[in-house]
């Protein structure tokens, strides 16, 4: 089984500041980490006992040390996607899914696992989008997984219930870190991880269908940003609604 697990490095809460003067949340000074959800995804992928598990991430070079820690958690190697796209583009789930697909497709994966919480705030959107790009089926909200002769057995959350699904491979899975304890990597694995090498794959540019202004004309996008602030929450909400109507976002 050839498996991939997609992880993202992001800021921890420590060091994130709200700049009142600029009206922005500033995470430039924040410590960075691979989120619990994504670390769980590595653990889940590892539990399938793949012959090779590659952690893949769309991340700047500075994050390589953190990406190497995925080796300590069980990945065999790490693939970092380098792209000329703006950082802003990396915040769009569709673009990220497209980039991941470009990097993963040539390896004909049997399983691709993603964490539930990253840029889309826990909604697990990248997984199904990536599945579309790879033309693979997708199972979401997976709590645990094991391998069978034909494919995989997955325990998934469906509302208040847990269901078990037997699925053939290849497929895409989004992991749900629910009621799990993450295994701590041993110091031996950490030491090995530190010596691991991160491979880089260049993803040239965005797909033509995904090349709308929004990803490249960041200046223009920035100019469109507006801060709406009322005396209290109710007034702010009223102002926001009227502005959305002005701009015909709401009817």
């Amino acid at each position: 089984m050839r498996a991939f697990v997609c992880v993202k490095v992001g800021p921890t809460r420590k060091g994130v500041r709200y700049s009142r003067s600029r009206g922005v949340i500033d995470s430039t000074e924040a410590e960075r980490e691979v989120s619990l959800a994504d670390r769980f995804a590595v653990q889940l992928a590892k539990s399938l006992g793949p012959e090779r598990l590659t952690a893949v991430s769309w991340a700047p070079e500075e994050d390589e040390a953190l990406l190497k820690q995925m080796v300590a958690l069980g990945a065999d190697d790490v693939l970092r996607i380098a792209t000329p796209l703006t950082e802003e583009a990396a915040h769009d789930p569709l673009v990220v899914a497209w980039g991941l697909a470009e990097a993963i497709r040539p390896h004909s994966p049997d399983v691709v696992v993603l964490g539930a919480a990253s840029i889309e705030h826990g909604r697990g959107a990248v997984g199904p989008m990536l599945a579309e790009y790879l033309d693979l089926p997708c199972v979401t909200q997976v709590r645990s997984a094991s391998r069978t002769d034909e494919g995989v057995r997955l325990e998934c959350r469906e509302g208040d219930f847990l269901v078990t699904i037997e699925a053939p491979t290849p497929l895409v899975i989004t992991a749900l870190p629910e009621g799990v304890t993450l295994k701590k990597p041993s110091m031996l694995h950490l030491a090995r991880a530190a010596k691991a090498e991160v491979q880089t794959v260049e993803v040239e540019a965005c797909s033509p269908v995904l090349r709308p202004r929004s990803f490249h004309t960041t200046e223009a996008r920035r100019r469109l940003r507006e801060r709406i602030e009322g005396r209290d929450v109710a007034e702010t909400a009223r102002l926001l609604l009227s502005r959305l109507r002005d701009r015909r976002v709401l009817g």
Binding site: A65, P185, S186, M187, L188, L190, A191, A194
Partner: protein
């Protein structure tokens, strides 16, 4: 000159720091009250690799060298001393004796289980009549066929009550003196004639036990001679060189943790209408503490680095053991002073730290003996 820690060492440091904060610190009072490291914590420490840090992977170790080991012990400084003590005796001097002095066969046989923590080791040199004067040991080992028969008592042996493997130093030829006449043996729990005697009541270090070990016609197979007959004293001294550097790492970590507690307390405690941190007398103590910790840390890292380069470190090991242990005691004393009365109360962790720190100047060679080692080396080398 590059002072950055290698990436693998940095990862180990972070991991141990988090483990101390999340897992060990919440159990601090329990360990103190029950005088025991909880079994599940011990198991976790084994799985995480705490027991084989400096040894190469081929023997089941983590392979982060002495520097990685020292940094891990430093990061353990925020936990009860019991943990560092357990590992210091097991890894730093006992398992280290096998690694430094053992035959290839002995290393392959014992190191993997010791590195994984499946088996715990102890180092038994001290006797009732031989402490600082380790060459005066009286435990004897006499060859009888394919066995050695050991007779004698060892005292204050850390991990003595829980050890599966004990490195025992005994006289095989009195006429040759320490160098040539002392041999090290690998004694396993269960060898006939080996038993654990009294477990000591100590001033501190609760959770870490020292015990008397009794050898009454104890039968040890001849293949369990560690390395070669007559090389025991040399192996002990080499292992102690390494152990002293690790001990210094622990001293630095403990002192750093005390400093952080003091800063927090000084900012909190209000007297004369303002936090005591505003008083220059307190600030000077904090500055002295930080300066001494910094010096000890650099000395310790340097000695560990030198050892990892395969260089001789006897003098540096004695220097860092002397300086770091004395520094840690000065820091602990200032920590009580900064805390005032509360620092003297049993309910407060500063009181525990003060008691635990005191031993650093005594075991693995007293401060006086370290000065002796340094001075002898200086006079021999002329510089």
């Amino acid at each position: 000159m590059d002072f950055t820690l290698p990436e693998e060492v940095e990862m180990v440091r972070r991991m141990v720091r988090d483990f101390v904060k999340d897992r060990l610190q919440p159990l601090a009072d329990q360990v103190e009250e029950e005088d025991k490291i909880p079994d599940d914590v011990l198991q976790e420490m084994k799985e995480l690799g705490f027991f084989g840090l400096p040894f190469p992977e081929e023997y089941g170790g983590v392979g982060v060298g002495e520097l990685g080991y020292v940094v891990a012990l430093e990061a353990l400084g925020g936990a009860n001393s019991a943990y560092g003590n357990l590992i210091g005796a097991h890894t730093g001097i006992a398992t280290m004796s096998i690694y430094l002095g053992g035959t290839e066969e002995q290393k392959r046989k014992y190191l993997p289980e010791l590195c994984s923590g499946e088996k715990i080791a102890a180092f038994a040199l001290t006797e009732p009549n031989a402490g600082s004067d380790a060459a005066a040991i009286e435990t004897t080992a006499v060859r009888k066929g394919d066995k050695y028969i050991l007779n004698g008592n060892k005292i204050w042996i850390t991990n003595g009550d829980i050890a599966d493997v004990v490195i025992v130093y005994a006289v095989t030829d009195k006429s040759l003196g320490a160098r040539g006449g002392v041999t090290a043996f690998i004694v396993e729990k269960g060898f006939p004639g080996f038993s654990v005697g009294k477990i000591d009541e100590k001033m501190g270090l609760r959770g870490s036990h020292t015990a008397e070990l009794i050898f009454e016609d104890c039968e040890v197979p001849a293949e369990n001679v560690l390395g070669e007959v007559g090389m025991g004293f040399l192996i002990a001294m080499k292992a102690l060189d390494v152990g002293r550097i690790g001990l210094a790492g622990g001293a630095v970590g403990g002192a750093q943790w005390l400093l952080e507690q003091c800063i927090e307390w000084a900012n909190q405690r209000v007297q004369f209408g303002k936090p005591i941190a505003h008083q220059q007398a307190i600030q000077w103590m904090l500055a002295d503490m930080a300066t001494e910790i910094h010096a000890a840390r650099l000395m310790t890292y340097h000695a560990a680095w030198k050892l990892d380069q395969g260089q001789r470190v006897s003098r540096e090991a004695a220097m860092v053991k002397l300086f770091a242990s004395e520094m840690a005691n000065r820091v602990a004393d200032m920590a009580v002073q900064i805390h005032g009365g509360i620092g003297y109360m049993k309910e407060h962790f500063i009181e525990r730290a003060y008691r635990d720190t005191r031993i650093l100047r005594i075991y693995e060679g007293t401060s006086e003996i370290q000065r002796l080692v340094i001075a002898r080396d200086l006079l021999k080398a002329g510089k």
